[in-house]
Each structure stands twice: as C-alpha cells, then as structure tokens.
C-alpha cells in the first residue's frame, strides 16, 4: 500500500497561501484517481467472457458482506532495480495475462482506469465457470483497487500496490473482504481461502517473472479482522453468481442462440 500516490505531493493550501475559500475551490489531488459514484453497474459485452451477473448490480464493500471479515496480504520482494511506478504500469497494462490458466478477465481496452468495469469468468472446478465482474474503484501510479459487485464470491476490495522499503521494491496485493453470502462462506471454509491464496500468489509470481525478478517468492499474511458473521446480509444469496452461472448457458451457446434467431 502506498502512502504517496498519484501526482507529486503538493503543499497544503495554508502553506501556499490560499484562502479557505480558494482551497475549497481547488480539486483534491486524489480526485482523478477515484471512480465517480455509480448506483448500479453498466457494462458492454466483451469478447471471450460470458458477461453475465454484472449489469444492474450494486457494488458491495465489506460493510455489505455476510461472512467473517478477512485482510489478506500477498507480498513479493522485487529487488532494487524495479521502480514501483514501473511495476504498477506493467501490472495495469497486462493485468489479465498474469492470472492463472482457466480464468478470464475482460477489461476495458484502455487498461485499468477509475470507473472501468471488467467482466470475469472464474474456474470453479469441474468445468464450471463463475461469471461475475469487478469495478475499478481507484487507480494511480503506485496502486489500483478493484471492488466487487453483488453476487461475487466476496464483498470488498483488493488493492494492488508497489512501494520502496529501503532500497527494496515491494509489490503486494491486499484483500479486504467478507464472503458475500452463507453459501460462499461455506465454500471459503471448505478450500476457498486456500484457492484464493494460491490464485494471488500465482498472479504475483507471474508478474515477478515478467518484471525479471529472479526466483520470485510470495509471503502471505492472513488476519481475521472481524470474526462475526453479518446474518442480516444472508439474503445476499439471491444474487449468488456461482449458482446463477450454473443455470446460465455458456457464451458459445448464447452466441449460437443469437445467430439462430
């Protein structure tokens, strides 16, 4: 996670002699890094993914999730030669290429920018694909954050960032999440957490290899931030994209069906 992000640090309004009114009129320097407010997601069809369970969905943060709240950090040391901005630029530009095989991420053609919606097909095993999406909540030169919609496995966000610790560049993914509903919570207990850990470790290693990190290693830290389940959100199960994906035809069939009309 970065402390300094986006444009170069600037002095406070007081330091540069702005009046309170002028300071109010000056846009905050993080403004361009945040997505504009959306109530429900809108998305166009993308090649290579089914594209279901996203349009019309609301975003879900940790407040709206059901399960225990977890913070997971996946960290990789990248040596002293790679600058954090370069690591993040490569990650943003080639984000889908670092995902483990069998999973697809169809983002906007322009890369990862605040407000973009990406469509995902995730391998659940047994040939079943979970179709969902993510929303780019925040993006600057040293970090970017994806937030999940209703029906996704988890409610929360994941921040990808890079920073210098002494001479060493650290690259990390930080997940702050609750399972979205009781079914996902059961799934997380029965191997879901391990699968997720493996997913992000593999992603970081693939990024490290692209950046030329010799023998990239990922260190995982997991903290239970809140052990209470939020039973008032159990009804999130109505939107469960895994269940819905099982009953939705695969993309090829949809295309064939459209062609047959």
């Amino acid at each position: 996670m970065t402390e300094t992000a986006g444009p170069e640090k600037v002095a406070s309004a007081e330091q540069i002699g702005l009046s309170a009114r002028e300071a109010q009129a000056t846009p905050p320097r993080d403004e361009a890094s945040w997505a504009r407010k959306v109530d429900r997601l809108e998305v166009d069809q993308r090649e290579g993914v089914r594209g279901t369970n996203v349009a019309g969905r609301r975003l879900t943060g940790p407040v709206q999730g059901f399960g225990k709240m977890w913070q997971k950090t996946y960290r990789m040391k990248a040596g002293s030669q790679i600058e954090p901005q370069h690591a993040i630029a490569v990650w943003k530009e080639h984000f889908p290429e670092f995902w483990p095989k069998g999973n697809r991420f169809a983002g906007a053609l322009t890369g990862i920018n605040p407000g973009d919606v990406a469509l995902l097909d995730l391998a659940l095993g047994g040939g079943v694909k979970l179709s969902t999406g993510v929303f780019v909540l925040y993006a600057d030169q040293e970090s970017f954050t994806l937030m999940t919609p209703q029906g996704h496995m988890f409610a929360g966000w994941i921040t990808f960032s890079s920073e210098k610790e002494g001479d060493e560049t650290i690259i990390q993914a930080l997940v702050l999440m609750r399972a979205n509903d009781p079914l996902y919570e059961a799934g997380m207990i029965m191997g879901g957490h391990a699968k997720e850990d493996k997913f992000w470790a593999a992603t970081l290693i693939a990024l490290g290899q692209r950046l030329g990190v010799p023998d990239p290693q990922v260190h995982t830290t997991t903290t239970c931030v809140d052990s209470k389940r939020q039973w008032r959100h159990a009804r999130n199960i109505w939107h469960n994209s895994a269940v819905r994906s099982v009953f939705q035809p695969p993309r090829r069939s949809q295309k064939a069906s459209a062609e047959n009309k």
Binding site: M1, E3, W34, L59, V63, Q64, W157, T159, E165
Partner: protein, 116 residues
C-alpha cells in the same frame, strides 16, 4: 512504509462522545495514528470523525476507516462523520460506507444526531 502525513486530535464532550479532528492524508500508513486516536477516545460510546482537514485519501485510507468501523462495532460504539467535502462524501457513498457511518453536515448536527 513512509511516515504518515496526518494528525488526529481527540476532543471529548462529556463521558460519552469524542470528536476526532483528522488533518492531512488518510492512507494505509496512518493506521498507528488512527488507532492511537481511537485509544485516546476510549470509554466513549459515540465517536465522531471530523474530516474538515482531510487533504488526501487513497483506497488504503478507506480500508483503515473500515477497520476502525469494525473496532467500533465490536465495542458497541456508534460512528459518525462530518466535514466531508462533496468529493469525499461521494467516495463514502461509492464504497457504501455511508450505510454504516452516519454523515452529518456540521459538528453541531453531528453532536445533536449522536446524542439523540
């Protein structure tokens, strides 16, 4: 992680309400400052965050506020906020934090609201 460019001062209103004046940048690196302000506000059951001095916040900062919210909920403390500019109020709405942290326009209305 670099040193946090932030200060948080705690003002108490009686035994039950504390206001935390946040000035500077809210990022992941401000966790120690935020948590020590939270400790300083210990013993109250209503915590009001004053964001009028907020200069910058990234997604790590929003994560910190979620963590604070969890702590407050665990202690059965009510969390409220005021002083958010339109930009930061929109971020609270976008991340749906406003569903758990009541947002007020001023300190007066926040204190009225939490005491009621």
């Amino acid at each position: 992680m670099s040193a946090p460019a932030i200060t948080m001062d705690v003002r108490r209103f009686g035994d039950s309400v504390a206001v935390v004046d946040i000035k500077g940048e809210v990022t992941a690196s401000c966790e120690p400052v935020l948590m020590s302000a939270y400790e300083a506000a210990g013993g109250t059951n209503k915590l009001v965050l004053n964001f009028a001095g907020l200069e910058y916040m990234n997604s790590g900062g929003i994560g910190m506020i979620v963590t604070l919210l969890v702590r407050a909920n665990r202690q059965r403390q009510q969390l409220a906020a005021y002083g958010l500019s339109d930009h930061y109020r929109e971020i609270f709405e976008l991340t749906r934090l406003d569903e758990a942290i009541t947002i007020y326009d001023s300190e007066e209305s926040a204190l009225d609201g939490v005491v009621r």
